[in-house]
Symmetry: D2
């Protein structure tokens, strides 16, 4: 079964910073999509902030199994209606991979329910990601650690909920640490946050990083049928109770009425 990935790129710094433009002449989203296509079982497309509805229409999401998110300079420009649409789809089973500065994206904060803050420093220092859980699908084919020659430092505390799995922890030349690969579930959706990817360094050209992205798409793909209705709160009629019931006491709701919300 082919997995349909959609790589969303903010697509700004590629045009406003010469350094970024040189590294990612077709946009970071294009480079990430190309990394995914190295797995024949993944079909990768792209969407950007500038498209109508940011390229994230209902129709587009209907044919998306896993969404990857890279944004940094324009989190506030992402429309709230699109964010709610994405949250709905994640709950229904779409995978979500949030990259680097996406920790402050609306969709990630929406799904975490926490500040998602961290400490940071842009000094081009070295980063070393240690693989914490070597038997996890996202860690397959990786060495015991990944070295990145120049990175932006992201330091703890990273204010997210305790994760389902801690997959990577980073060591930085400047002395900090960071939980750089974490997973959560929200509804039927699997979420992976992966810290590397500052736009002024060629991180998404690095083979091990590309391997992580491919592994993560496979892991985040939930082949279960779309859980439509997961956000509904159905009124179970008294006659439909599994055990026979004799109603009693005062009631606010007529049988079959919608609930208050």
């Amino acid at each position: 079964m082919t997995i349909r990935a959609l790589v969303w790129g903010e697509n700004i710094h590629e045009h406003t910073s010469a350094a970024v433009g040189r590294l990612y002449p077709d946009g970071m989203h294009a480079t990430i999509a190309a990394a995914l296509r190295e797995d024949a079982g993944i079909e990768a497309n792209t969407a950007t902030l500038q498209e109508p509805e940011h390229g994230l229409t209902e129709g587009r999401l209907d044919v998306t199994d896993v969404l990857l998110w890279w944004g940094h300079a324009a989190h506030a420009e992402v429309a709230d209606t699109v964010v709610e649409r994405l949250a709905d789809r994640v709950w229904e089973g779409m995978g979500l991979i949030v990259l680097h500065s996406g920790h402050f994206s609306k969709i990630f904060k929406r799904l975490m329910g926490t500040p998602c803050s961290l400490r940071w420093r842009e000094a081009g220092e070295r980063e070393r990601l240690w693989v914490i859980d070597r038997g996890h699908p996202i860690a397959q084919g990786l060495p015991d650690r990944i070295e990145i020659q120049s990175t932006e430092m992201y330091g703890e505390p990273f204010t997210v909920p305790e994760p389902e799995a801690t997959l990577f922890i980073s060591w930085y030349e400047g002395g900090e640490v960071f939980r750089s690969g974490l997973t959560w579930r929200r509804g039927a959706g699997r979420i992976f946050y992966f810290a590397p990817g500052h736009e002024t360094y060629p991180i998404y050209h690095q083979p091990e990083i590309r391997q992580v992205l491919r592994n993560a798409v496979r892991w985040a793909h939930n082949p279960a049928p779309r859980q439509t209705g997961i956000a509904h709160a159905p009124n179970v009629p008294i006659a439909g109770a599994p055990e026979k019931l004799q109603p009693k006491g005062a009631r606010l709701h007529a049988d079959g009425a919608d609930g208050l919300r």
Copy 2:
């Protein structure tokens, strides 16, 4: 140390339903606050939807250790700015106890990042809460199960994130089950969801339920200093790195500049 609890009541059905008004003539919030005051170490006040800023001003929250939330008919009327203020305060360490139909309150959904949906039926049936984790602070002084003679059924699936602790699971006369007491942490804040409390039945007059509420206030109280700044993302200057750093590579941010968010 006295714990300062604030009981928030939507305060609508007490006035629009005769049955509710009879059970809670001074409002459900008043009954809940009275339950808390049976613990001499808890100082309980109340606030309602109808007050300016719903009674949840910055000043009020500054003197609140634990907030209890009961709402049902008017979730949508709670101002978003107040909801964000509450979320900030929870992250900084304020405890939050969400009751019954508050599963669909804005603040609970905001902190969970999931639909918080469930199935329901209003038939006055019996409910039995089993205590799952008898050594937990919230379970102290309770029997091994709590019987409620008339309740609204809340049935699984309850679409919340996997909790930190599963404290109560309910059995219903009509054949359903529900995880009726769950805890999470978000930032420095401790959150407890407790399902019982439909307004047409005298549930908050029941001694064991009142015991749970008092226990929960004590558990949710985080005596740590308020974690102001938990949502900030400070730029650590290069000169302030724990290890001496020689910066290299392209940069987007000047030293000490604010980050993008």
Copy 3:
């Protein structure tokens, strides 16, 4: 890729109880293995307590991806060396599915680190399993609830560690509840506990139960390479440190020496 499942049966009550023998004339393990074989992608074999090393030799486990465990009357007769072998293999990535009275098996208690106790009653009452997490792989193809006409009651508190996922919760005719489907990870191994399966009732002949078993085998299968060495504690030589180190201070261990354990 074919998944190699091994169904372990204690194989006692089938011979000592006429009622059990009638329901499972070839042994419960045979019935469970037949259920698995309804999935063409699963190759199912069996082993029993009475075989040398209980049929769980190193060689046998080397060709096992997922082990299913049914035991009740003779937990104490399982050799400790075999239990340690199983624990090692789970940590290295073998899936483990523990059924019914296996909650008190040595291997389950070994991996949980808790009493794994529960309350019980044998009255042939009805049980209804509610599916809590409908998007989970183990829940695929199931209705929203499974009805069992006659069951042994297993009641909370079930003293296990908080699970990774709560998949099923049971309602009992007699008034109890139970978390009847739970998952954990231990090392690279995925563990699923599934409560139904008392030997005096035809539970493993029921189609939905068989579906759960097949789903669970697929979920528990970890295709990652066997994590040999996961229990080792290697001494990293100073010359092999990722960053150049100048040793200092007193030492207990020679370079390259084994650690104490």
Copy 4:
């Protein structure tokens, strides 16, 4: 309420290594106990491997709220019966703080159900513990990081179950990282693993480390009544079911009989 802490020391290297003896002339346990006594609310006593039953008799544990464990060279010499006694007491509510090389102690492995392995290097390098969860009780009064001038490196992967809370992550001069402060619950017992404490360096003389130990004792103390019987599996008589039951079907057990285990 005074918390009764018991500091268990293996008490070997203090006598066989001159370096260790100089740092801890009265034994490491004595130094740790002195650190605890700086909190007037903690009453700290000590026990050692060499005492009868390693100083961990039933009577001793009956008056112990929190046990701290330091062992390294003689894990295998701790009697299995004592280990089982400790596990029982943790499940019943005794707090347990496992220090440094205690990751390979019998009691820690028993409660985790995993290998508890890690990588290590003894080079006297620097370690920096970052506080991940600043609002947690164990982090109170601490700076945002703790610097240790000479340490033994403990590196990931640390093969423990995903924790309830990740409190500290360490950065090492040699390039590794480690989750150096983690919590779990097992039954009614709270467990904290804290990595610092190699015996050839004066780590337990360092004020911030001593603060962590005191905080941890307060956090690990569960004031709930001892959960005796938590490992029992009572047969609930049919007449004692919360709902009236008509038994049916074949039975293996007489009413009120003990279960098989």
